[in-house]
């Protein structure tokens, strides 16, 4: 195996320009974190809404929720990226379409965030549904019998418990968001994977580049994991779900 090692490469200047490779990686990390966190917010809001709707007694809402989940779960993320980037703008009204294609600020970032957010929301919706359905039937009945409306029953009884139950799968989903954000390179978001490929081509120090980027992804996943563990600990209901673990 012939390979010319150069660990100082990160502090060297890029071929054309006066940035260092390190600055590329740092800005890449910034975009990765930005895309991941922004899509995580979208995913949580939509995921909880759709997951909840799928457990209501309204059949048409349940069907709609199911269709949403099936749609986003059965198309590869990369294909969805291309759909949002190349296909969706074509179907918008003419003026809006032109604006999106030519003037929308941070077009790649917005597209990737929406795409990853909706993709993840379908997976969260599935977990929320499972979480709510895992609660004893009596909880819902008791809520309604106490005179709470259906929304109140969800707000004060079902959702707080369901949220705590699904924290472990939500944790892996949060880590997945960081991993999946790498797919955004394909539509030109300058995130970590994009910078890794760029730096590898520019510097020809592939192993050092990929090692650094892999470590950065690793750190992201680890921090995401610790954050969720903290929330899990803080939101534990004494004597209730703590025992389940």
């Amino acid at each position: 195996m012939k390979y010319h090692w150069n660990w100082g490469i990160f502090f060297e200047q890029i071929k054309y320009g006066d940035e260092t490779y390190l600055s590329w990686l740092i800005s890449g990390l910034g975009w990765t974190v930005a895309v991941s966190l922004a899509s995580w917010v979208i995913a949580l809001l939509l995921g909880f809404a759709i997951g909840t709707v799928r457990t209501t007694p309204r059949t048409w809402l349940v069907r709609l929720g199911n269709a949403y989940v099936e749609l986003f779960r059965n198309i590869p993320l990369l294909v969805q990226m291309f759909l949002w980037f190349f296909v969706v703008p074509e179907f918008l009204p003419r003026n809006l379409s032109l604006w999106v294609k030519q003037e929308m600020p941070a077009k790649e970032f917005v597209t990737a965030t929406v795409c990853l957010g909706l993709f993840t929301s379908a997976r969260i919706a599935e977990q929320v549904r499972a979480g709510i359905q895992s609660l004893p039937r009596g909880q819902r009945m008791a809520g309604l019998a106490m005179g709470l409306t259906l929304p109140q029953t969800y707000r004060y009884i079902l959702l707080p418990m369901a949220f705590r139950i699904i924290i472990p799968p939500l944790t892996s989903e949060f880590m997945n968001v960081f991993k999946n954000s790498s797919v955004a390179f394909a539509i030109g978001v300058l995130e970590l994977t994009f910078q890794a490929r760029q730096m590898q081509e520019d510097s020809e120090q592939g192993i050092e580049t990929y090692l650094a980027v892999t470590v950065l992804y690793f750190v992201c996943a680890f921090i995401a994991n610790r954050m969720m563990a903290f929330i899990e600990k803080r939101s534990r209901v004494p004597g209730f779900i703590a025992a389940a673990k």
């Binding site: 195996m1 012939k2 390979y3 099936e70 749609l71 779960r73 059965n74 198309i75 590869p76 993320l77 990369l78 294909v79 969805q80 291309f82 759909l83 190349f86 296909v87 074509e90 179907f91 880590m175 960081f178 991993k179 999946n180 790498s182 797919v183 390179f185 394909a186 994977t193 890794a196 490929r197 590898q200 592939g206 192993i207 990929y210 980027v213 892999t214 992804y217 690793f218 996943a221 680890f222």
Partner: protein, 221 residues
């Protein structure tokens, strides 16, 4: 708008897309078989008595599961040629990568599967005078597989979707074929939509089958 879609480009591009789909399917099937085989060994190593073996297997599985698949694809594409000293095509690189990567995920499933087999079964195997390998092969693994078939298949559907990521190293799978055809006919919108429809139809059908299988298996048990 919808009316502007030119669906006439779909027909001439079908043979091309078919080659791409065949590659995606082959990649899925090979990575599935290889991944389940290696994954089962990894799971056995993690549950076995040998400390170093357990440590190595868990380290491998945890490492693979915490890096994005895209990075793994790029890693293998970079490193394999350095190790064997000559370039291998994107297609072969993809085969090796997906087998190695999916093995980690399948091993977690098989670990759960092996743990789902009652302990008495293993003891009974030993009591009958069977060796470790005989107990595993004749008693534990058949039951573990049976219990885990739906989960293994669900993972395979995810694997099929993930094969689209070979786009990053330029292997010609279904998505890449659609991409190329879209550029050739200057009709990217139609081709991306069409590829999405194909992926959806296949994955939806497969997951409905898995759901039905799940019910069937649950009743038998």
């Amino acid at each position: 708008m919808l009316g502007q879609l030119d669906l006439s480009v779909l027909k001439p591009s079908l043979p091309f897309l078919w080659t791409g789909l065949k590659f995606s399917a082959n990649l899925t099937l090979i990575a599935m078989s290889g991944g389940i085989a290696i994954g089962t060994l990894l799971a056995m190593a993690r549950l076995g008595k040998s400390r170093p073996l357990t440590a190595v297997a868990s380290a491998y599985v945890n490492l693979m599961r915490s890096i994005p698949l895209l990075m793994v694809i790029l890693w293998f594409f970079l490193v394999i040629p350095l190790i064997i000293g000559k370039p291998i095509g994107a297609e072969y690189s993809a085969l090796i990568t997906f087998t190695a990567f999916e093995a980690a995920y399948y091993s977690e499933i098989m670990r759960a599967g092996i743990q789902s087999v009652a302990k008495g079964q293993v003891m009974a195997g030993y009591a009958l005078g069977m060796t470790y390998w005989q107990t595993m092969a004749l008693v534990v693994l058949p039951q573990a597989f049976r219990n885990m078939i739906p989960v293994l298949l669900t993972q395979t559907i995810i694997l099929f979707q993930d094969t689209s990521l070979v786009y990053a190293i330029g292997a010609k799978d279904l998505l890449k074929a659609a991409d190329i055809a879209g550029k050739n006919y200057n009709r990217p919108v139609e081709m991306y939509l069409f590829s999405a429809v194909i992926y959806f139809a296949l994955c939806y059908t497969l997951s409905s089958i898995v759901k039905r299988l799940q019910i069937k298996l649950a009743v038998v048990r």
